[in-house]
Amino acid sequence: MQLVEGTDSSIRRFLKQLPGVDQVGAESRAAMLGTRSIKTASKKWAIDCAISMIDLTTLEGSDTDGKVKALCTKAVHPDPTDPTVPSVGAICVYNDKVATARKHLDAIGGQSIPVAAVSTAFPSGRASLEVKKQDTLDALNSGATEIDMVIDRGAFLSGDLVKVFTEIVYIKELCGDRAHLKVILETGELVTLDNVRKASHLAMAAGADFIKTSTGKISPAATAPVVLVMLEAVRDWYEMTGIRIGVKPAGGIRTTKDAIKQLVLVRETAGEEWLTPKLFRIGASALLNDLLMQRMKLRNGNYAGPNYVTLD
């Protein structure tokens, strides 16, 4: 559904009709949802659900094939001692490690796990459109089926919304049927919740399949109020268009408690329909082990220790 044409006036008109966000009110709603107490059966369900939603991520300059392969192994069988643990949602790596990841996943029975590539001059996005396109093509050709692109925050903040919009349109075109497009807003640089709402709608209007909070390189990242506002955005988008867009918080979600709070936000904001890896992902690395330890606690009744989950 074409809500916006790629002209400056059309985009401005579209974003202008969005309601404002009162920061204090949004924070207090998010904080209130953070007090939900998830126990016993619901906790068990939530932990497995969260594991299946993780985009298990490594985005370091020091990444090697060995590191990426190890991550893939963990993605398929997060807990080698317990086959009932679900696989994670995806593996998320830099472009040049996509092929390695894809190949290794296929080799160890992880064919169903997609590989996501961070693209478009991640994390800053400071490159020409041609470079960004090439970057994306490179990832797609290497076997990425999910593209995590960054928006041009500088353009957004300076008011060049057409640039932000058209870049997303171009990248979406390249993705075509080959890959899902996740658009990273880098909310820590957009700063205000009004900007988060605007950028969310801008990204959805330009064709994003997912909107993602952060690169993980900037703090604050996936704070509860930011995720709340993005969930409200996809909910409102669905009301307008009948299309469900996914949400991916990334950065700063390290504990089971954090992850469950995210699921509560999803359930009580966008709704149950979003509680699937198809529509909600959590970008994380350390989170997985905490979820596994909590899972052991629920299974055995005793608190687990870090030596009983694998390092990577």
């Binding site: 309601p19 709603r29 509680l275």
Partner: protein, 480 residues
Amino acid sequence: MTFEYSPAPESTAIVDISAQYGLFINGKFVAAKGSKTFNTINPATEKVLSKIAYAQASDVDKAVVAARSAYTKVWSKMAPQERGKYLFRIARIMQERAREFAVLETMDNGKPIRETRDIDVPLAAAHFFYHAGWADKLKYAGAGDNPRPHGVVGQIIPWNFPLLMLAWKVAPALATGNTVVLKPAETTPLTALLFAEVCQQAGLPAGVVNIVTGDGATGSALVNHPDIDKIAFTGSTGVGKGIARAIAGTGKSATLELGGKGANIVFDDSPIDQTVEGIVSGIFFNQGHVCCAGSRLLVQENVHDELIEKLKRRISQIRVGDPLDKNTDLGAINSAAQLARIKEISSSGDAEGAHRWSPECTLPEKGFWYPPTIFTGVTQANRIAQEEIFGPVLSVLTFRTPQEAIDKANNTPYGLSAGVWTEKGSRILWAAKQLKAGVIWANTFNKFDPASPFGGYKESGWGREGGRHGLAAYLKGGEK
């Protein structure tokens, strides 16, 4: 599979409820003169929690005598700074025993543990902490050069915020050097009786705080007692008027915090998701048992449908049920009598042609429950737009222009609270100026703080509680 929250009940092991309670007079629990008692029950289960002594006029007299003696001999002679230290002690003990207070309040009142734990109890302790610091600074309180306490204050509090209302009453009274005879509500005496224990633990001199349990007749005995200098009452406007008549010509002064029919005004440029939250907390906080509830929603007509749709979706998320469950949003109605009243007024909404809507929710079989309810298509002439329902029932009206919104908002004998939702700053200040209400919440609702004066215009009462202005109500030569 869906994400259903498993039960997460707060343990009741922390509270120790006696089978029977006496009156708290002169620092000790004593038997009432008569043998009459009454039960206090858990409104969520209808189970009897305890048997409470019934104070008759002679018991009230004993309490007043104790309070007078404590006032004359001890409290009025104590250095203000030392008086303040007792209040600090009380605040600290309340913080130490916060969970116990929260669980007990939830059991006796029926309100969700999330609210008692996060709002009622911390705010009550904060009230003591705030007023403790005033005790030795009264000459800076703007109440004249020679601020003096009234003497013995009779205080009568309602059942909707039993401990918090106790704190609103007792803390400023003690800080200013008065002594107190307090009557908690008939259906919710337990946290006041636990507070009596806190007074004992704090070493508060005997007779400074006295607590007499009973019903309306007990309260009436307190109001009419000749040795009471001031009455402080929170409750219905009807009873408040009765008190005003009773003390006419006696020279007693009074603070009255009474009913309301708060208008919550939503303009078409409001931050809509936070507005929806504000509407929900405005009317469903504490089951709507709130005198300042935003029980009349005034929506600009051009956003009515969109807002109501969002509101309904949000209300469908409200979790109704076991108040002790940490995930409960809406607890039990406080009493069978209150439930009957809510049902009666609400049914007039049906009869007068308003459209009722409630989400699907299963209510527990035992106890007193009412689902979150909104009526749309309400007009000023409907009973549900005029009378205080004091329950989880919202009346939705529309307006076309800002002036019409204000006119409708002010078109009531009440004047306690009002809400304004708009992103336009100058309109907020304009509306705040026009609205005849003591508390205006702009882009927020139902917020309370010890430093913020609270109280109503018109038939919503006399005087303020909280802040410098509330303090003055307990001082002679003060600002009212």
